[in-house]
């Protein structure tokens, strides 16, 4: 019974001992994941930006840039948090005026407007959960000119069923996969958008663009203008220059002529990418410094756990030796050498701590996440970043924030380490008691009751 309690107690301290490295390893992994994730996001965006050196985005709202959910998957996946608000529209004839600017090759108009239906949903951020009411989906009208479709990526990619939109389409739409459940339709089914009936000709997968994937229906520009009631209006022009050298000039002209348009060029996008990169770097370095803090704490805690374990062994074995003094006397009287006696007790100490290691691994394999989250300071991966970026990291690898402690698991190497530590600490802790046992003088021990 006593041995049982001792083993349980030792088991706990061993569990703590191995849960801490497990937690550290998990933290390191999450930081590494985060780094990889950041790097891939940045490089994807860089790639996209480089592809579109001739693109000048002219949008009616600041949120509608290429980073905010434009079609075609060149979006980084940042959701537009300005749902429904600040949706401003301009006359599509402005597109014709822009086309006449020197160096402009094409002007592609878009209409992006929220649906009339709303939905409320809970968004978790590291700052807590809050519920927002937002439009159910976004209606995007695209100018279905075949040369635009061929030359520029204006339509959704990742078509999973049916076909994409093409020139001459009317009364049809392509919807994101996450909307098919809501509407309960498949390809060739009919849906109502703002009260008008449309046939679904294709479905595309939008996950990876925004934290739940943007929910969008794509349709002909004029259809979109009709259903949204924005006849003759658009919300964005994608202006393509003949050559990258014209870009700055065109942007200057547009900025001067249309103060209500937000003009974004390749350079602007690059700048904003750099800003984003800086934020990422800051976030990462915050994570790294927290990690190194965590490691310091962990080292101290491991030292305490190791000391506690060997002290438990020490005291238990001292008690055992005292309790069994007479037995030790007997063993010596019948011919056990000092070394025989000593090794007997060393072995016993090692055995106890080995059993404790088994218990500790059992506790640790269940409780490592809890133990490590209790014992280690939590890494705040978003310590230095602005709120705007938070959901992005979340979307890019769902659960980075929650994953650090939850993934603290015992791998076989750690278990092996635990057994090694058990042998070592068992031997260490029982060294002195065993030595004492060995030095007991048999004549005195026999008198001991």
């Amino acid at each position: 019974m006593r041995a049982f309690l001792v083993i349980i107690a030792l088991g706990f301290s061993m569990a703590i001992m191995i849960s801490i490295p497990a937690g550290i390893i998990a933290n390191q992994k999450s930081t590494q994941n985060l780094t990889e994730n950041f790097n891939s996001t940045i490089s994807n965006m860089e790639e996209e930006i480089n592809k579109t050196s001739t693109l000048i985005e002219c949008s009616t709202s600041s949120g509608q840039s290429m980073f905010s959910g434009s079609p075609s998957g060149r979006s980084s996946g940042m959701p537009n948090f300005g749902f429904g608000q600040g949706e401003v529209f301009i006359n599509e004839t402005i597109g014709d005026e822009i086309r006449s600017v020197d160096g402009v090759k094409d002007v592609v108009p878009f209409l992006v407007k929220s649906s009339e239906e709303n939905t409320s949903e809970t968004i978790s951020t590291p700052r807590g959960d809050f519920t927002v009411s937002r439009p159910l989906y976004t209606i995007t009208g695209v100018c279905l000119n075949s040369s635009f479709i061929d030359d520029y990526s204006i339509l959704p990619t990742n078509i999973t069923a049916g076909r994409n939109l093409r020139e001459g389409d009317s009364g049809v739409l392509v919807m994101s996969l996450n909307l098919t459940d809501y509407f309960g339709v498949e390809v060739d089914g009919n849906v109502e958008v703002n009260g008008e009936s449309f046939t679904v000709v294709g479905v595309y997968n939008s996950t990876g663009q925004g934290f739940t994937g943007t929910r969008t229906v794509y349709m002909n520009l004029s259809d979109a203008q009709t259903v949204t009631g924005e006849i003759g209006n658009v919300s964005r022009f994608d202006v393509y220059a003949k050559d990258a050298s014209y870009v700055d000039g065109i942007a200057e002209v547009i900025r001067a002529a249309y103060s209500n348009l937000y003009v974004t060029t390749y350079k602007d996008r690059l700048t904003s990418l750099e800003n984003m990169q800086a934020t990422y770097t800051e976030t990462l370095s915050n994570a790294q410094s927290t990690l190194s803090q965590t490691q310091t704490v962990a080292t101290q805690e491991i030292i305490v756990a190791v000391a506690a374990t060997s002290l438990i062994v020490l005291f238990v074995m001292l008690y055992t030796v005292r309790e069994r003094t007479k037995e030790i006397g007997t063993l010596k009287a019948i011919g056990f050498s000092n070394w025989n006696v000593m090794s007997q007790f060393l072995l016993e100490g090692i055995l106890i701590s080995l059993m404790a290691a088994v218990v500790g691994i059992a506790i640790g394999s269940i409780g490592a996440p809890i133990l490590s989250s209790l014992l280690l300071p939590q890494i705040n991966l978003f310590g230095g970043s602005s709120g705007r970026f938070q959901p992005m990291f979340r979307s890019a690898n769902s659960g980075i924030t929650g994953s650090q402690a939850a993934s603290a698991t015992l791998d076989p190497q750690l278990m092996l380490l635990a057994f090694g530590a058990a042998v070592l600490l068992g031997a260490l802790g029982s060294l002195y008691p065993a030595g004492r046992a060995a030095r007991i003088r048999p004549a005195e021990a026999m008198r001991y009751e």
Partner: protein, 260 residues
């Protein structure tokens, strides 16, 4: 003259209690010959146990010689003594001192643990010894499931394990009832006669002591008197109930008719 197996010369032992020195043995000269059954008697505090501890190499004398099987063990360094205890001496204790978590046969095997005997040899010898002390069939019993007399028999078997030159028994019957006392003495007497085992028994029970060949009386750390026991001359014991003389292997006492 028979061969001496154990001999002491001017043996003294002084315990230091702080500055006070307490002499426990003050010049003991004794000789035990091979095949003898000797009792050491004395009142409590006379130094019986100290003498036995010194004889058994559990304690070092302050001065004097202890010649055991022609070796002066008093001169041996501490770390050599365990070999003497293991190979030359068999100990029997008043409180049996069996290991409670080992069964009978494992307790008997214990002294052979640190010898070169193989596992099967040890087991075989232990089985034979348990049979010799009349415990065949009880090998797997733990001490708590054995009676006091049986436990002492296991202890005797254990003492015989390494075929020692001498058996030292410290009040072996002190914790036993009359019947068991008699049985243990008879067992020791039988071992002494049949196998020629040398036995030195410390006791304060004169009845027990008189069953041996020779009684040494210890008083204030000195041997003051020597008496002949029954065992030497007549190979007889005393009935534990009526005190009359009986044959070693009598089933019943001829005079009081009690079962032995």
């Amino acid at each position: 003259m028979s061969e001496s197996i154990l001999k002491t010369e001017k043996l003294t032992k002084v315990y230091a209690m702080g500055k006070r020195k307490i002499p426990a043995l003050s010049g003991v000269d004794l000789q035990v010959n091979k095949g003898e059954f000797v009792a050491i008697m004395g009142p409590s505090g006379s130094g019986k146990t100290t003498l036995l501890n010194v004889l058994g190499c559990l304690d070092k004398p302050t001065s004097g010689k202890v010649i055991l099987d022609e070796v002066d063990v008093a001169k041996l360094p501490e770390k050599e003594l365990y070999k003497v205890r293991r190979d030359k001496i068999g100990f029997i204790f008043q409180t049996f001192n069996l290991l409670p978590y080992l069964n009978a046969i494992e307790n008997v095997e214990l002294p052979m643990e640190c010898t070169k005997k193989s596992k099967s040899e040890r087991r075989k010898r232990s089985r034979e010894l348990l049979e010799l002390v009349g415990l065949a069939g009880r090998e797997e019993h733990r001490p708590q499931r054995l009676s006091a007399g049986e436990q002492q028999r296991v202890a005797i078997a254990r003492a015989l394990a390494n075929n020692p030159a001498i058996i030292l028994a410290d009040e072996p019957t002190g914790n036993l009832d009359t019947k068991n006392k008699y049985e243990i003495v008879r067992l020791l007497a039988n071992l002494n006669i049949d196998r020629g085992t040398t036995v030195v028994m410390v006791t304060h029970d004169s009845h027990m002591a008189s069953q041996t060949e020779r009684m040494l009386l210890l008083n204030d750390g000195k041997i003051t008197k020597e008496k002949q026991g029954l065992h030497l001359t007549k190979k007889k014991l005393l009935c534990p109930y009526c005190g009359s003389k009986i044959q070693l292997n009598d089933e019943r006492c001829p005079s009081c008719k009690k079962r032995l």
